[in-house]
């Protein structure tokens, strides 16, 4: 079996429809088989189903309708065909292509099944089950079949380049229908763009929805933090000694412990979706925990609302994790840092409070309080968000300057063109 896997990988890598390459590889691995008769002589029919049917279309990008027809063609192949077709559909994002691991495929399928509306959802489940059950036995087989079909028939659904303009129309359509009610087919109608398929829209919609939740939560935190900061500034005097208690009291009851287990799963699933920033946020946040020893009381700062339900209430818990997580990328713990994203912003102003209290009781405090520097990881997260999702709407919606005036100004400063060919030194 072990010998099978590398063969599969190799096959997959070169599986562009070249029978020769196959025979070359196979002859190395399986000298028993002849050159061109490999496919016929060995029981790989279900793997190289495309070949058998002469379905070698390396450059053809088939529409989803054709994809639906495929199962009929591959009726002789039981699970593999189902898996292949469904995987084809999920291949939009190119994730599947790269992943030969069962887990990733499974998670990819699971995540994509929610995208798919109709038939595929059933197929997905079957496939997922099949995959899991046949994981060890036919690991290579499934991978290779999937890979082969992916490369052979390319993507069933065209990869869409979601430009800001396109995305704007998408958002318009979605908002017209109502975010929760927005159905890809209706969105497609509203957008009226030929090049888009339902699948493109479906996958984009899923991303959009999950991003919105993120964004709204974070910006709500940011907004409430600015407000809070001003509040603290104004009431500081009046609060007096109570300041010590107030933030914490306000915080503790409102903060519940996040449900850890769902987050665990989320993180497993988010692995392939790292582009959405969850794992990266986690990692960046996790890295910084150890760097704030002085802020140990403050990392779980007064958090007025926790949409994510972070665990800051339990400070000792934090310390524990804080020590345990040295470079902290374990899937188990990230659920805390991630929800802390919004809090991190708040962490900046708040650290001023405890030292303020513990200190002389008034003098040094104000500066840390009002001179708040947002934490690096929350900035990083926010900026990373912009970089990875360029089609996002502007948070403030400031009137953009004219390109010409910016370019003109830059040229005066000695910057000939942007984006610069060489990145600035880190």
């Amino acid at each position: 079996m072990l010998a099978v896997s590398p063969l599969r990988s190799e096959r997959n890598a070169e599986n562009k429809g070249e029978m020769e390459s196959f025979s070359i590889i196979s002859s190395e691995e399986f000298p028993d088989f002849g050159d061109g008769n490999l496919l016929e002589s060995i029981d790989f029919d279900d793997l190289f189903v495309g070949f058998d049917e002469g379905d070698v279309l390396p450059d053809l990008e088939m529409d989803s309708e054709i994809l639906v027809e495929l199962p009929a063609n591959k009726s002789d192949v039981e699970e593999s065909s189902d898996m292949n077709t469904s995987v084809e559909k999920t291949d939009e994002d190119g994730n599947q292509r790269r992943d030969e691991e069962e887990e990733d495929k499974v998670s990819g399928s699971s995540s994509s099944s929610s995208k798919e509306e109709e038939i595929l959802s059933k197929r997905e489940e079957t496939n997922a089950v099949d995959k899991r059950s046949s994981k060890h036995g036919v690991k290579g087989r499934k991978s290779s079949a999937k890979e082969k079909n992916n490369k052979q028939e390319k993507r069933k659904t065209k990869k869409v380049d979601w430009t800001p303009e396109l995305h704007r129309r998408f958002v318009q359509a979605v908002e017209q229908l109502g975010v929760d009610k927005a159905v890809p087919s209706r969105i497609l109608e509203l957008m009226g763009i030929d090049c888009l398929t339902r699948h493109n829209i479906a996958s984009h919609l899923q991303k959009y929805r999950s991003h919105r939740k993120n964004l709204l939560a974070r910006e709500a935190e940011a907004a409430s933090w600015s407000h809070r900061r001003q509040m603290y500034g104004g009431t500081a005097q009046a609060g007096g000694g109570k300041r010590d208690i107030n933030p914490w009291v306000a915080v503790a009851p409102t903060m519940g412990f996040p449900p850890v287990s769902p987050m665990h799963h989320h993180h497993h699933h988010f692995k392939p979706l790292h582009v959405w920033g969850h794992p990266t946020m986690d990692q960046s946040r996790m890295h910084l925990w150890p760097k704030h020893p002085g802020h140990t009381p403050s990392p779980p700062p007064p958090q007025p609302q926790s949409t994510w339900g972070p665990p800051p209430a339990n400070l000792s818990f934090w310390h524990h994790h804080h020590k345990r997580v040295s470079n902290g990328v374990t899937p188990g713990t990230p659920c805390f840092p991630q929800p802390m994203a919004p809090t991190r912003f708040g962490a900046a102003p708040v650290p001023g409070i405890p030292p303020h209290h513990h200190g002389t009781g008034g003098q040094p405090g104000p500066h840390p309080l009002v001179d708040c520097h947002p934490s690096k990881e929350s900035i990083d997260a926010a900026l990373g968000d912009v970089l990875s999702k360029p089609w996002l709407p502007l948070p403030l919606g400031l009137k953009p300057p004219s390109t010409d005036s910016v370019l003109g100004e830059l040229q005066r400063q000695g910057v000939p063109n942007i984006p610069p060919s060489c990145a600035s030194s880190p």
Binding site: V370, I379, L383, P390, P395, L396, L398
Partner: protein
């Protein structure tokens, strides 16, 4: 060329706006964008300046709130509030 420049400027504007949400100063913004997004500080500052020209009111208000944060302590803020209250109560009879 034009298009990519425009979208690049758009991206820089987006990044700056994110920094504004964090109440960062122009310098902080330049540093952050350089560090996290590899954007040359000169570009950040140019786009910032241009944005300021287009959105004068916003940036004026922003600068004010920034300077208030820098200068005013909690005590000063509460004193200011108390003063404002007493001022308004002083004004009332005349109105």
């Amino acid at each position: 060329m034009g298009d990519s420049s425009t979208s690049y400027i758009h991206m820089v504007q987006h990044l700056i706006e994110k920094c504004l949400i964090f109440n960062m100063t122009k310098e902080e913004c330049m540093e952050a964008l350089s560090k996290h997004a590899n954007i040359k500080p000169v570009i950040t500052s140019t786009v910032w300046n241009e944005l300021e020209k287009e959105n004068k009111e916003f940036f004026e208000a922003y600068a004010q709130s920034q300077s208030k944060q820098d200068r005013m302590s909690e005590e000063e803020t509460s004193q200011m509030i108390q003063k404002m209250i007493s001022d308004s109560s002083n004004k009332d009879p005349s109105e």
